[in-house]
């Protein structure tokens, strides 16, 4: 079905604690495309990523996000993930006591439909024995080791607790590792470049480039143009004050780099700045 190949956000409005942050965002991503979403601090970039993934603090007041004929905004976060949506977090959570490998084994099993029944409930009805709904250990470990090697993550990370004591670069690589294992259809990467030195940035960018292809659509959220030196977007959007004010090709990112965000700010009457709409 044609609709399976697009992720279509229409007129999305989102409030956080009563304050409207996104004021009508529309955006369509096709599989195989990489879209960059750029904008200054406070423009609503992370709000968009959190709302699309379904964080309960971000209330959607209007709009739809259609995918496979479903409005994902009506689904709980876990169901969105199992449908193939993925968010690489700007600030991944630290969970002491949960090892990277047992977490990933559960996540992969959920994504592949082993952990969950069709109606979304945890399986099965009765008592479950540890491991019974999970991907077999051997198979999982083989896959995990392969993907970790590709991201230059030492295999000792498997038995470490999730993000506990990890450096910024390690956390971001573990996010990309999750993306590699979960094999999403649409991925949102929220400031995956922030806090990375140049070597870590290259590793992460290589990882993303390896994963993207005709079967995945990507929304790359970034503050700086730097990441776009390593991951080439097809489309660039500029988000200012909760609205997309410009959409263009990769050249738009260079334009931003040269003149900063100020020139893109909409004027007080709600229209766009004069030079923001080329004749």
């Amino acid at each position: 079905m044609a609709m399976d190949n697009t992720f279509e956000i229409r007129d999305l409005r989102v409030s956080v604690e009563g304050k409207e942050i996104l004021k009508g965002v529309s955006l369509t991503i096709r599989k195989g495309e990489i879209h960059a979403l750029m904008g200054p601090n406070g423009s609503g970039k992370s709000t968009l990523s959190m709302a699309l993934m379904g964080h309960p603090l971000y209330s959607v007041t209007n709009g739809t996000a259609l995918y496979k004929g479903l409005d994902v905004l009506g689904l709980p976060p876990d169901e969105r993930a199992r449908q193939g949506l993925f968010l690489a977090f700007q600030y991944p959570q630290t969970i002491p006591g949960l090892t990277v490998s047992s977490f990933l084994r559960m996540a992969v099993s959920a994504r592949r439909g082993l952990l969950v029944r069709a109606n979304g409930d945890a399986r099965p009805d009765g008592p479950r024995r540890p491991g019974q709904d999970l991907l077999p250990v051997k198979e999982f470990l083989r896959e995990l080791k392969e993907k970790m090697a590709a991201l230059k993550l030492d295999s000792s990370f498997m038995s470490r607790h999730l993000n506990d004591g990890f450096s910024g670069g390690e956390k971001k690589r573990v996010e990309i590792l999750q993306m590699a294992l979960l094999n999403p259809e649409f991925a949102i990467l929220d400031e995956t470049d922030s806090g990375l030195d140049i070597d870590a940035l290259k590793v992460v960018a290589e990882g993303v480039n390896r994963l993207t292809g005709p079967n995945m659509g990507v929304l790359l959220i970034t503050h700086y143009q730097r990441l776009l030196d390593y991951i080439k977007p097809h489309v660039v959007h500029v988000l200012m004050d909760g609205r997309i004010v410009r959409t263009g090709g990769p050249e738009l990112a260079r334009e931003l780099e040269a003149q900063g965000y100020e020139g893109f700010r909409p004027s007080a009457d709600g229209g766009e700045a004069t030079h923001a709409t080329p004749a």
């Binding site: 709980p76 976060p77 876990d78 993930a81 968010l87 959570q93 969970i95 006591g97 977490f103 008592p127």
Partner: protein
């Protein structure tokens, strides 16, 4: 139950005179001691009048007709194994250890064969009759339980495993456990307590004594997964000699309501004790634990981490007491209590009590309680884990932080397995 009944029971058990005397003294204490009142500090949260004392009967516990069956099969990776209960008993031990004097046996059998070794510990019992009515009751009518003796200098690398089991016919039980680790010995012992649930409430009143001789290194792990119909009042006490170290791990998975006293006396200079406690409460189950670290000598160290996870209407009270008298210079003692509340109806209370008379001591306590972190929950759900699974995963992660303090390998695996079983019910 009266004095004549107890005497007749002791006759049937053919108990030695010194033990008969101890029991009768204890029975007198039991009769003259009133039930603890709610005004008493340690009993404020547990109404002793609700404890089914009417269940107390003098059970036949293989009286007179003792026999020991040797299990043909035994668990792999253990130095010795004991299955202990009123109907059957099974035991197995690595031959090399039995030749060198390691003893692990059923209490009734131990009274016949090793009374000389046990007598000094039973006569000078650290389980004080004066503590409360239930301590006196236990001392009067205890039966069943087991005895472990690790001879001087014996270092046992593999764990010793004990399973104590009570059938549904036993609505009262008062088992006594005595663990004696002699000087410079080393041992890891893990006990699993189980009971078969019956139609009505059961009452258990166990007593545990752990004696760690000078420079001994002892790990005691108790996994309590008795039935959810059990009212339990238990008195458990450890004495730690000079330069000895005790690691005491207590995992509470069963019982309907418990009042547990865990006392650690650091009696010799340089003694060390670590305690890790964890209770999982669900349904309407409740737990009231009092732990005491008594620093009775110079330069002793104590570290307690007690944790709990409460679901449904589970309720816990934890009272952690640290006592440092004037002469206990150089004491270093830490107390931490952490609770995860998984439902709005779950409750936890934390009461630290520091009684410090000495100078030059380090003493710290910390307590925290709270619900599941919503951002952590969202993170796991964003990876496809259904809410129930994500909550369970976070609770297990919370628990893992405690389990990680137990000896690695067999013991940790066992603890994990038992916790997961309870969570998955």
């Amino acid at each position: 139950m009266d004095r004549h009944e107890i005497e007749a029971w002791m006759d049937r058990r053919r108990e030695p005179e010194w033990l008969r005397r101890l029991r009768l003294e204890a029975f007198e204490a039991y009769e003259r001691t009133p039930l603890p009142a709610l005004q008493e500090e340690e009993w404020r949260r547990t109404d002793a009048r609700r404890i089914p004392l009417g269940r107390v009967v003098l059970n036949g516990f293989r009286d007179g007709a003792l026999h020991e069956e040797h299990t043909s099969g035994h668990p792999a990776g253990v130095a010795a194994y004991l299955e202990s209960g009123p109907r059957r008993t099974g035991a197995w031990m690595e031959t090399a250890y039995s030749k060198r004097g390691l003893i692990l046996t059923d209490m009734e059998l131990a009274l016949r064969e090793h009374a000389d070794l046990m007598r000094p510990h039973l006569e000078g019992s650290a389980l004080s009759l004066e503590r409360d009515k239930f301590a006196a009751l236990h001392a009067a009518v205890w039966h069943g339980g087991w005895f472990l003796r690790v001879p001087e200098g014996e270092r046992i690398e593999q764990p010793i495993w004990v399973r104590s089991w009570l059938p549904r016919s036993h609505r009262f039980a008062g088992p006594r456990t005595l663990i004696v680790a002699e000087r410079r010995s080393r041992v890891i012992v893990i006990e699993e307590r189980e009971s078969e649930p019956g139609a009505d409430a059961a009452f258990h009143c166990p007593g545990v004594e752990i004696v760690c001789g000078e420079s001994a290194e002892v790990v005691v792990v108790t996994i309590d997964r008795r039935g959810d119909d059990v009212w339990d009042v238990s008195h458990e006490r450890a004495r730690v000699g000079a330069s000895a170290s005790l690691t005491w791990i207590v995992l509470h998975l069963g019982t309907l309501a418990r009042k547990t006293f865990l006392e650690t006396s650091l009696e010799g200079a340089g003694a060390e004790a670590r305690m890790v406690g964890l209770s999982l409460l669900d349904g309407v189950r409740q737990s009231d634990v009092v732990s005491t670290f008594h620093h009775g000598a110079p330069r002793t160290r104590g570290d307690i981490v007690f944790g709990g996870v409460s679901r449904d209407r589970g309720r816990s009270v934890y009272r952690g007491r640290i006592v440092v008298p004037r002469h206990a210079r150089g004491t270093d003692s830490h107390l931490t209590h952490r609770v995860l509340l998984m439902s709005p109806d779950a409750r936890a209370e934390s009461i630290p009590i520091l009684e410090i008379e000495a100078n030059d001591v380090k003493c710290k306590h910390a307590a925290s309680q709270g619900a599941i972190d919503p951002d952590q929950l969202f993170y796991l759900m964003s990876r496809g884990l259904p809410r129930v699974e994500a909550e369970r995963t976070l609770a297990l992660a919370f628990v893992e932080d405690l389990i990680g303090r137990a000896p690695a390998g067999w013991v940790q695996e066992r603890l994990r397995e038992r916790v997961a079983e309870r969570f998955n019910r």
